[in-house]
């Protein structure tokens, strides 16, 4: 199968802090890859190094066969990115943000259709900052999908969404995956990871502690539920016990 994202021996440190240590993985076309780990485990740094917004100390990264640092212009015609942070102008409306985003690319999906599919078509004239947390989150996914991407990066995909909205987002993403979209996501919801991810990679202190499928993760652990297995890998359970 064609590899869409290839990460080889990625290492990045901030001063003395080793944020990402010798991380390697690859993501095949049309699959969903989950990058998991506690806050500070190195997920965001890994994503930023893949996208080229941070420069890795060593290792190789390719996305769609291109180097994100040297082939930026061509690569990002086909890549959608949703960041955690609020990176939009304070007084901008939903419609304007979609229009401006669309004008950056040569080929785009129709933003109005996407807004309809994510149930926020009636918010076009609202200011982005006035949207609820869940509506904002859905808008940011819409923005990531505007370039008709071949691969999307979704950082903390459904944080702030209610149960129903999360299910709807999952359904839409599964549908896009069927059509060949490759997705790399981070999430703190293990039910979501189980429902969506074909492959996962669990990071702890910048290193890979597990890389494989969800069922393999459960099989290789002493637990039967994936969430317990995840906590076992990240040792969060042990830490909570110590606190008791």
């Amino acid at each position: 199968m064609q590899k869409i994202i290839n990460v080889k021996q990625l290492t990045k440190s901030y001063g003395k802090l080793l944020a990402v240590n010798n991380v390697s993985f690859s993501v095949s076309r049309g699959t969903v890859f989950g990058l998991l780990g506690a806050n500070g485990a190195g997920k965001s740094t890994t994503i930023e190094c893949i996208l080229g917004t941070k420069k890795a100390d060593s290792g190789q990264v390719s996305v769609l066969g291109m180097n994100p640092l040297t082939n930026r212009k061509m690569l990002f015609e086909k890549v959608g990115v949703q960041f955690q942070e609020t990176n939009y102008q304070e007084q901008i409306t939903v419609g304007e943000l979609c229009e401006v985003t669309a004008c950056l690319y040569r080929n785009t999906a129709n933003p109005a259709d996407l807004l309809t599919r994510f149930g926020i078509a009636d918010k076009q004239k609202s200011l982005v900052k006035d949207l609820s947390g869940g509506q904002k989150q859905r808008l940011f996914i819409v923005l990531a999908l505007i370039p008709n991407p071949e691969v999307v990066f979704l950082d903390e995909l459904t944080t702030g969404l209610d149960a129903k909205a999360r299910r709807e987002v999952w359904k839409i993403l599964s549908g896009l995956k069927e059509k060949g979209l490759t997705i790399l996501l981070t999430s703190h919801f293990m039910d979501e990871v189980e429902a969506l991810c074909d492959q996962i990679c669990i990071l702890k202190n910048g290193e890979i502690v597990f890389y494989g499928t969800v069922s393999e993760a459960v099989k290789n652990s002493p637990h039967e539920k994936f969430e317990d297995a995840y906590l076992w890998y990240t040792d969060e359970e042990g830490q909570t016990d110590e606190n008791l």
């Binding site: 990002f76 990176n87 007084q91």
Partner: protein
């Protein structure tokens, strides 16, 4: 081009929604013009002068908008877009984040030009203003003032560590220049001591240059001003290019 136009349209709407530039770059110069017009009317600039006081002040008023946009508007918007990670978001698109900065420069240039046209029409219609100099020289000087003022703003916005700091530096630069460079309070009515202090401000030099151009006086007397403006522009653009922080 489609990208630039759409961004210009949206950023202009956002800027107008904020109202502050409309007030500081469009309304303030007009208000000062009207006040000076009412006070001095068609009086000559000094006894035996070939031009009126208002004609002498016109080009100074035309720089208020350049100063507001370049030294106040530009640094604030640049540091805000950095701290809100908007510049960073552009890094993961096919467009360079430099384009959004270019769009902002275009917007503040537009404010300045609109202000210039409004000032000219108001002065002409209500106060009998006449332009005495060469239009070519005036616009060359005008462009030089725009470039050097905007380069100051780009430098402040590009290297200030956060929005608060950018706001503080912008205020320290903007208000003294607005009041003491002769943009609002005419240079000619200042006491000599104050005039000497004013000469340190870069905008004072820009205004001298534009005054000569608009009154059709000998350009040689302001060669030093031209040089000062060029040096400021070169230094600030150099620092911006070298130390600009995108994140």
């Amino acid at each position: 081009m489609k990208t630039f136009n759409t961004m210009l349209k949206t950023e202009l709407k956002l800027s107008l929604r904020g109202m502050d530039m409309f007030i500081f770059a469009i309304c303030v110069p007009l208000v000062v013009l009207i006040i000076l017009g009412i006070i001095y009317g068609n009086k000559p600039a000094f006894e035996g002068a070939g031009y009126t006081f208002l004609e002498q002040s016109f080009s100074a008023l035309a720089t208020i908008s350049i100063c507001a946009g370049g030294v106040m508007g530009l640094p604030l918007v640049v540091s805000e877009y950095r701290s809100r990670k908007i510049l960073k978001r552009y890094k993961v698109t096919p467009i360079s984040p430099a384009l959004i900065l270019f769009v902002q420069v275009a917007i503040y240039t537009l404010y300045a030009l609109v202000s210039l046209v409004m000032l000219y029409l108001t002065a002409k219609l209500f106060f009998g203003y006449q332009f005495h100099g060469s239009i070519g020289t005036f616009f060359s000087g005008y462009l030089l003032v725009v470039v050097s003022m905007f380069s100051i703003g780009m430098m402040v916005g590009g290297i200030a560590p956060n929005t608060k700091m950018a706001g503080a530096i912008a205020s320290i630069l903007y208000f003294p220049m607005l009041i003491f460079s002769g943009a609002t309070l005419p240079y000619e009515v200042m006491p000599t001591v104050l005039q000497k202090v004013a000469n340190i401000l870069p905008l004072t030099q820009g205004i001298k240059l534009l005054k000569m151009a608009s009154l059709g006086l000998e350009i040689n007397s302001v060669l030093l001003s031209v040089l000062v403006m060029i040096i400021i522009a070169v230094i600030c653009i150099g620092i911006s290019l070298k130390f600009f922080k995108w994140e």
